[in-house]
């Protein structure tokens, strides 16, 4: 079966996916499924989305031939799909805008979202400002500190940011809190999930909204090099930028799909977020997928220098692609990602997000493995402004304050 045929009618990708939610949410998920199906058949609606992707988001985003990074890696040619150049600085707006348009179509006046790195929160706040919707963003307290710049951006855009102080105070708990809000306010509220995760239809819907990355890149690579790439790579948190770029290439059997999870301090230990590498199947946040869990089925806490990859689950379609062997997943440590962040900045003049830097490390490694006549496409999912504080500390870039 091809990815295009999935999920099945009940939202399953093989044994993964589904809908594990309180009954109170089922009607809203059905309503969303129907609204999405009817919107996709409505030429006026799809034309408006296309127009906004062009005139507001800034699509198509360019493909950059990373010549100096390629030379440094000394292997395959590395091409960068520049989602960092989309409005708000990451791929997240592709999905947030699509879902906000759906919310408006369903007559919902209030939108909620969770965010880890803050990029999805910023994208949702942006879409809500543009469409005149109320916006509340749940963010783990720990993430509000390490991504403080994005908290300010969301507030500037008129959103309410709610720091979440339960559990591990990161992305997992922001999602749990957003689901509690949704159960309570589902009549007026649409929950804009930020990745290819959660109960059906979200994994499908978010993938479809992100697929524009892969569709554009597939054509751009062919125009530039006259053929398909040999490998397509992306970082994987929930997995939306990866699913977006992978889905256009899934039917191309010659194209390897490689996702990079957050290895934190190393997958051998407990401090990482490498869900597929180190997890096992289970149910969390409405979906059956790979999870980091203890023997009793309690969710484990995760660790990653990147807030956006710091999540103990992964989208169910990735679990399925892993199960079938169509995609492979590797992990990249904090240190490797930070080195790649610096390498890309020095060789290409691009400051990417720390999430993205995981994919950059992976692509350089893969380029060396594949050798010179091959082509590796990287989803450059976001820009790194939000991470400069973390980077400055990591590399010791700031001069001591005067007078000390």
């Amino acid at each position: 079966m091809t990815a295009e045929a999935l999920p099945d009618a009940s939202g399953h990708f093989g044994r993964f996916g589904g809908r594990f939610v309180p009954e109170a949410l089922i009607a809203a998920l059905d309503e969303l499924s129907e609204a999405y199906a009817s919107a996709r058949r409505d030429p006026g609606w799809t034309a408006e989305l296309d127009r906004l992707l062009r005139t507001y988001v800034g699509r198509p985003t360019p493909l950059t031939d990373a010549a100096r990074l390629t030379a440094h890696a000394g292997g395959a040619r590395i091409l960068l799909k520049r989602e960092d150049l989309a409005h708000t600085g990451s791929h997240k707006l592709n999905n947030a805008l699509g879902q906000a348009l759906l919310a408006r179509r369903m007559g919902k006046t209030r939108v909620i979202a969770e965010t880890g790195a803050g990029q999805h929160g910023v994208a949702t706040a942006t879409a809500c400002a543009y469409l005149g919707l109320d916006c509340v963003v749940y963010m783990g307290e720990e993430d509000t500190v390490r991504q403080a710049l994005n908290v300010a951006r969301m507030r500037m855009l008129g959103a309410t940011v709610v720091p979440v102080t339960t559990g591990t105070r990161t992305l997992k708990d922001a999602i749990t809190e957003a689901m509690r809000d949704w159960v309570t306010n589902v009549d007026s509220t649409h929950y804009v999930i930020g990745s290819v995760m959660g109960p059906h239809p979200f994994p499908m819907l978010v993938r479809d909204f992100q697929r524009v990355i892969g569709d554009e890149a597939r054509q751009q690579v062919q125009e530039l090099v006259g053929r398909l790439p040999d490998a397509v790579t992306a970082c994987v948190g929930g997995g939306s930028n990866a699913m977006g770029i992978f889905s256009a290439f899934v039917p191309d059997a010659t194209v390897d799909l490689v996702g990079y999870e957050a290895g934190g301090l190393g997958v051998e230990g407990a401090l990482h977020a490498a869900t597929i590498a180190a997890g096992s199947p289970g149910v969390l946040h409405g979906m059956r997928t790979f999870l980091l869990q203890d023997p009793d089925g309690q969710t484990l806490s995760t660790a990653s220098i990147s807030a956006g990859l710091d999540y103990p689950g992964v989208g169910p379609e990735h679990a399925w692609l892993h199960d079938t062997g169509r995609a492979t997943y590797r992990s990249v440590t904090d240190g490797q990602a930070m080195d790649a962040l610096k390498l890309l900045a020095h060789t290409e003049g691009i400051l990417c997000a720390i999430e993205t830097a995981h994919a950059v490390h992976g692509a350089v490694e893969l380029a060396r493995e594949l050798g010179p006549d091959k082509v590796v496409l990287v989803c450059l999912s976001g820009r790194g402004d939000k991470d400069m504080d973390t980077a400055a500390r990591w590399f010791g870039l700031l001069d001591p304050a005067p007078g000390r």
Binding site: S10, G18, R19, F20, V21, P22, E23, A24, I26, A27, A28, T166, G167, K172, D173, T176, M179, R180, V183, T184, V186, D187, G282, V283, L284, H285, G286, R288, L291, Q293, P295, D296, G297, Q298, T299
Partner: protein, 275 residues
């Protein structure tokens, strides 16, 4: 030990509501359950503490966090079930699905039945995903209990009610667990929709915290399910408080039928509203 069916039949004969009390397993829960049963709780729900309780408000979250910090495991839950079942009341476990998926539905059904458990309430397991659990429950004669919500369509209410044994759990409000000042305006209608498609008893939960509220709910539902109010009381004043609250609620479900709905909203116990 009495089955759920026997408890409902006896209460119907006495023309009163069944009182169901919930607490998560964990330190202090066994003593509190004993006090609740002694004071008139007819059936018990033992919560299996879980790290990501999406349907629970702050009070139950706090209790669950404490239970998890103390290392409460599914095995401890079974031990609590065993203890309460010995007191002679039906005991159900209320759990999010992942711990059971991890334990193995068939093994869990066998162990829960061996511990004397009567059934399992599964708030995030929709009927579409329940096949393996339903088979295991049937094999071990456990009552599967699913939830219906005010937003459920009539077709879903019929489907879910058809799968429930013991009782159908009607969530009175759209929202997470937590005691509320006012009882739900939509609950009576939801109960009526369930009754239209099944003879299985209907329990109403989410929000009840006082004897007056219990009396009002017992006026249209077969069982009154009380969770957060017991949890709050146990957190604040231990087993003695739980016994006192149980006595008040047990009096509530016994007030003579039919009961006129009180003219004014019942006063909330201090600190129990919404939290």
């Amino acid at each position: 030990m009495n089955t759920l069916a026997e408890v409902f039949a006896a209460a119907r004969a006495e023309r009163r509501g069944v009182l169901v009390g919930y607490l998560p397993a964990g330190p202090g829960a066994d003593e509190a359950f004993a006090a609740m049963v002694a004071a008139g709780v007819d059936a018990v729900e033992v919560g299996l503490p879980y790290s990501d309780p999406v349907l629970d408000g702050p009070v139950i979250q706090e209790a669950v966090d404490r239970a998890l910090a103390a290392g409460t495991s599914p095995t401890d839950v079974l031990r609590t079930v065993e203890g309460v079942a010995r007191a002679g009341v039906p005991v159900l476990v209320m759990t999010y699905w992942n711990p059971i998926e991890r334990y193995g539905p068939a093994r869990w059904a066998a162990d829960l039945a061996a511990a004397g458990g009567a059934g399992l309430i599964t708030p995030d397991l929709p009927p579409e995903e329940a096949g393996p659990w339903l088979a295991a429950a049937e094999e071990h004669r456990l009552d599967p209990v699913f939830l219906v919500a005010p937003s459920s369509t009539d077709a879903r209410v019929a489907r879910i009610a058809g799968l429930c044994r013991g009782f159908v759990y009607a969530t009175a409000v759209m929202g997470v667990t937590g005691a509320r000042r006012e009882t739900s305006a939509v609950a009576p209608g939801l109960v009526a929709r369930v009754r239209a498609v099944t003879d299985t008893p209907v329990g109403v939960g989410l929000g009840v915290s006082t004897g007056d509220q219990a009396a009002e709910v017992a006026g249209y539902a077969d069982a009154v399910i009380v969770g957060s109010a017991f949890v709050r009381t146990v957190l604040d004043s231990g087993a003695a408080g739980a016994g006192k609250l149980a006595a008040e609620l047990a009096e509530g479900v016994r007030r003579p039928l039919p009961r006129p709905v009180p003219a004014a909203a019942p006063p909330a116990a201090p600190g129990l509203d919404g939290i």
